[in-house]
């Protein structure tokens, strides 16, 4: 596969600075609404602040790749005397939990760094974090060219994993016939 130059976007999370306001979740959901900013629903956000306030845990996590199956990770992490589950750090929308799924359809969500036309200067969550928790950086890297997978395909893949290709094809055919 050919090598290409790619802009790599990263967000460093300085979680100790988080004041727990969840503006990042709110604006993420508003930005990704259709039409843009027409609706707010933090449960649809592609960033979620994992929060156990009395344990002093406020941990912003971004939605990553969709996982078709639950993993075996059950480890606990003790960091600065605070106990986290391995699951807390995980970015996947997976069958074991509701995080990073559309609340109505259950379809997986993934952070797209607010890719937009015209491009945003920074992802919206970064712009809305006044506590400097989310630090955005861009750099160029040479990577292997990969096929971009769009949101519809991710959603369909999760449905295939859940119901099987045959069932999905049958349903699709039936719906097509109905018009």
């Amino acid at each position: 596969m050919a090598k290409i130059k790619k802009k790599i976007k990263t967000i460093t999370v300085d979680a100790d600075k988080c004041n727990g306001c969840r503006s990042c979740e709110l604006i993420c959901s508003a930005f990704h609404a259709t039409p843009k900013y027409s609706a707010i629903n933090p449960a649809r956000a592609r960033i979620q602040v994992i929060r156990y306030p009395m344990k002093d845990i406020w941990l912003p996590i971004f939605a990553g790749e969709y996982a078709p199956a639950e993993c075996m990770g059950r480890e606990k992490y003790l960091i600065d005397e605070k106990q986290y589950d391995e699951c807390d750090f995980c970015r996947a929308a997976c069958p074991a939990r509701d995080r990073f799924k559309e609340p109505d359809s259950g379809l997986p969500l993934r952070c797209d760094m607010c890719e937009d036309e015209p491009p945003q200067e920074k992802p919206l969550c970064v712009q809305w974090c006044f506590s400097d928790v989310l630090i955005y950086e861009e750099r160029e890297e040479e990577v292997e060219e990969a096929e971009e997978v769009d949101e519809a395909e991710i959603g369909l893949k999760s449905l295939v994993d859940k119901h099987g290709l045959n069932k999905l094809a049958e349903t699709f055919a039936r719906m097509t016939q109905k018009g």
Binding site: D16, N19, G20, C21, R22, S23, L26, I27, A30, A33, P35, K36, Y37, S38, A39, I40, N41, P42, A43, R44, R51, Y52, P53, M54, D56, W58, P103, W128, F130, S131
Partner: protein, 656 residues
């Protein structure tokens, strides 16, 4: 489709267990916006004014005001509305936090409770699924403890829980409703919740909240955000630290408490301790505060850091905001801030008002020292100041012994004990505890705000107008130079002409008419904030805030898709305010009740005070007794109110 609001109320009859999701009338939004405005209307329509706080017919409304849950920063207030057991007037204790936004996302603007549950319950609202659940296992549990237990048993760490502690269960008039770093503490909302046998209300929502013109709304929000950044970077010079910034007073951030400890009164609002903040205290108190604070935190969608998670030595963790860190030390005359952080934890679990409670504890001590309460009343009470306060607090929330007297607050305790006690009770307005402040010369603006507002809590009435005149003309010119929040430019001249001493100083300047204008402006802002759900620290309560009369209408219009201009917005909140006023008038409130404590200022001016009240009433369109006139009510589309007031003989035919 409804915008900014969900268009649904959750109606719960606690006696029968009937739960209904009821569509609200969109016309109510046009007339009263939401939050406090629509809550007042619901009371007018449904609750006869003869109703007492603990009657089953009293409603307990817990609501999410109009712009809560939208991207507009700092709109996160929960507005509770109910008849106060302490004042017998319509009260609306408010709190920040996360609960109100979660209610919107669950699909409701208000939860309206009527009647009483036969046993202690909690309510679990999970989108469309709503349950009344047994809470017998939570009886006697602390408010913080209750929240954690409920989240655990629901297996829902993201649920928001508003809970009462033991004080609410025992219908203590100073009982609060606790919600994380915030509480609705004033006027006994927690007591009514307890009377209805509701231990807690948990909510989780994962639904969309819609905006009519979202892109336009975000543009207005972005402009407000730019201003928030600007004001955070540019505190106002020449005013005390907590007034220089925006947000609630940043009491968890600031450690220099010279101003509060030396200007507010200690004990039962009794002693001013000038020189208290010496070198030793300046070293110890900030050190203890910094040790106690684990993290500075905010409310929903707010960039400020007004609250904190506390983790102090062996004290169980809890959250704190504002002035509570000082109130217990100062009331008990304890010069060790450690006591403040320790007792506040117990008080938070009990769920009590951090302003009123320390005063009532101090009052009990004072009554004992004066021989009005006896050794028998204090049997078993430790002798040291700290131990005495813990003991009294424990008695009060359990209504044990003298605790039963204390539990109703300063006014009622004194009244029951007789004239000698009444002579020592000197810090209530309309039967409600006020800030522990005793000052020199009558301040005419504060006189009006203290005396007349339906909130009955001075901390939440004052706001955009500076607390005192600036000493130099340069400072005044600097202040007025950049003041886009002003409703009208002529106010600038009032500030420029206002001197700290001599000509044009208090109590005669600003003049009664100017004071009426200024107070009307402050009240309007508070009424807007309470209908829209804005933290008053970002609007009505602070100097030069990000939200003001020129941008509220833009936000409301874009959110609702219903164009409202400044005059229209002002008319709506005036309508709600006059409706609230009329309701309280029907409950017996009038001019006779509108007075600050006799010793609030050392130098009083009875004639001027009468003139201030009369001028203000006239400005507001009220008669000389403080009742809205028929003409005023007609202008505000409240003819039905005039009719009712006339029928009841409160307004008389032929009388303005």
């Amino acid at each position: 489709m409804r915008y900014a609001e969900t268009g649904y109320y959750l109606e719960i009859d606690l006696a029968t267990g009937n739960i209904e999701k009821v569509e609200s009338d969109p016309r109510l939004t046009e007339l009263h916006l939401g939050g406090l405005g629509t809550n007042v209307k619901l009371f007018w329509d449904r609750v006869p004014p003869e109703t007492k706080a603990f009657d089953p017919e009293n409603l307990f409304i817990i609501s999410s005001p109009l712009l809560v849950g939208t991207p507009a920063m700092s709109f996160n207030r929960t507005c509770v509305t109910t008849i106060s057991p302490q004042t017998d007037l319509l009260a609306y204790p408010m709190m920040g936090g996360f609960w109100a936004a979660e209610l919107k996302y669950a699909g409701y603007d208000k939860v309206i409770f009527r009647n009483k549950s036969p046993k202690l319950v909690y309510i679990w609202i999970n989108n469309d699924k709503v349950e009344i659940r047994d809470a017998s296992h939570l009886k006697g549990k602390g408010a913080v403890e209750t929240r954690e237990i409920i989240k655990q048993e629901l297996n829902e760490p993201n649920a928001c829980v508003a809970a009462i502690g033991l004080a609410g269960e025992n219908r203590v008039f100073l009982a609060s409703i606790e919600q994380g770093r915030s509480s609705a503490s004033r006027l006994g909302g927690g007591a009514v919740m307890g009377d209805k046998n509701i231990k807690a209300i948990a909510v989780r929502g994962t639904k969309d909240l819609n905006l009519a013109r979202g892109a336009e709304f975000i543009e207005h929000v972005n402009r407000a955000q730019d201003y928030i950044k600007y004001r955070n970077a540019n505190p106002i010079p020449g005013v005390m630290t907590i007034l220089a910034g925006i947000g609630s007073p940043q009491e968890m951030v600031h450690t220099d408490e010279k101003w509060h400890t030396e200007n507010f009164m200690w004990g039962n609002s009794r002693t001013r301790r000038r020189g208290f903040w010496d070198e030793k205290i300046d070293d110890e108190w900030p050190r203890i505060q910094l040790e106690a604070i684990k993290r500075l935190i905010s409310c929903y969608n707010c960039p400020q850091h007004c609250g904190a998670l506390l983790s102090f030595r062996d004290v169980p963790r809890y959250k704190m905001k504002c002035f509570t860190k000082l109130t217990y030390c100062m009331a008990a005359y304890v010069d060790d801030l450690e006591f403040g952080f320790r007792i506040a934890q117990r008080a938070t679990e009990y769920g009590v008002d951090g302003f009123g409670t320390p005063q009532i504890l101090a009052f009990a001590v004072e009554l004992y020292e004066a021989g009005i309460l006896t050794d028998k009343d204090f049997e078993g009470c430790p002798k040291d100041k700290e131990g005495r306060f813990y003991w009294l607090l424990d008695r009060m929330v359990r209504r044990e012994g003298i605790g039963d007297l204390m539990a109703d607050g300063l006014y009622w305790m004194a009244k029951r004990l007789g004239p000698e006690a009444e002579a020592l009770e000197h810090n209530t307005i309309k039967k409600h505890e006020q800030l522990p402040l005793k000052l020199g010369t009558l301040d005419p603006i504060y006189f009006l705000m203290y005396s007349t507002n339906e909130k009955i809590s001075i901390t939440q009435i004052e706001g955009n107008w500076p607390q005192g005149a600036f000493p130099t003309m340069e400072m005044r010119e600097e202040f007025v130079r950049d003041w886009p929040q002003l409703p009208d430019d002529h106010f600038k001249q009032y500030l420029l002409d206002w001197n700290p001493r001599g000509d044009n100083s208090i109590p005669f300047f600003p003049t009664p008419y100017m004071c009426s204008e200024i107070v009307d402006w402050m009240e309007m802002l508070h009424n807007i904030d309470d209908a829209l759900g804005l933290c008053c620290g970002m609007g009505s309560f602070c100097l030069k805030p990000p939200y003001h009369i020129h941008n509220y209408p833009l936000l409301v219009s874009a959110a609702l898709g219903m164009d409202i201009d400044e005059a229209g917005l002002k008319k709506i909140v005036n309508r709600s305010r006059n409706l609230h006023r009329a309701y309280n008038n029907m409950k017996g409130m009038s001019r006779k009740d509108e007075k600050p404590p006799a010793d609030h200022w050392k130098r009083r001016f009875p004639e001027l005070e009468e003139e201030l009240l009369s001028t203000y009433y006239k400005y507001k369109g009220w008669n000389n007794d403080g009742i809205p006139t028929k003409e005023r009510l007609h202008e505000l589309d409240l003819d039905y109110v005039a009719e009712e007031l006339t029928k009841r003989g409160i307004l008389k035919d032929g009388e303005d």
